[in-house]
Assembly symmetry: C2
DNA sequence: CTGGATCCGGAAAGATACTG
DNA sequence: CAGTATCTTTCCGGATCCAG
């Protein structure tokens, strides 16, 4: 390995660490996908992100808000309505989501293929 | 939201869940970056992936091997040498790594900019 | 010395019941 | 509806220990 490769490698890892603050979470990207598809309410998000618990939903929404990726708006009622919305900056994650979606789909196929071989 | 959007959204989440098996880990991508840069030994990986413990390194290596992303070869010694190597399939993650690197770098800038504004 | 496995304590994730 | 409180379980990191 050349020294320029080592420098490249370290830069990549530094960038990955920063990206992981958002990406390296079980729920944040699915949540953002739901929010980028439209404005949602707490219950709606809970339904559209399969498997998430109310506790994790509340926590992840708070974190995404702190990261300026989504906004939380309260419309005083009655009835009180709380609306979560993806901020424009969240759109910058679209390429990331696309690539992960593509890789995830092909990886599912890859795993299926391996399973078929191992059973043969 | 149209129903085709809903279908698209579910497909995306399904793909993200599969991708997250590999990507959604603190150490797997950094480890793969190190391994894609060259064949490495246990201690070398421990050094090049900043902050990882021997326990997590051993665990993540096992998982990556089970996922057919890397290979583990033992050359009986003495001294015994164990060599970890990225399998060809691991190269399919290169686009994922690239896009995450790009987003991570720009996100670091974005966060810096926000910090500067908040201090002004 | 390298390549791990094991034990322990704190932190985070999950399930779910409950509240305004 | 929009969460919080509580309890359980699982995960992570550090230190230590062991085999070749």
């Amino acid at each position: 390995m050349t020294s320029s490769q080592a420098v490249q490698c370290e830069q990549t890892m530094r960038a990955l660490r920063h990206a992981s603050l958002v990406v390296n979470s079980k729920w944040k990207l699915p949540l953002l996908v739901a929010l980028l598809t439209g404005t949602r309410h707490f219950r709606g998000l809970e339904r559209s992100v399969a498997g998430i618990s109310t506790k994790m939903l509340a926590k992840e929404l708070k974190e995404l808000e702190a990261q300026h990726l989504i906004s939380r708006t309260v419309y005083p009622g009655p009835p009180v309505v709380v609306e979560y919305q993806a901020l424009p900056y969240a759109q910058s994650l679209n390429p990331v989501i696309e690539v992960l979606k593509a890789w995830g789909m092909q990886h599912e196929q890859h795993v299926e293929a391996l399973k078929a071989v191992s059973m043969a």
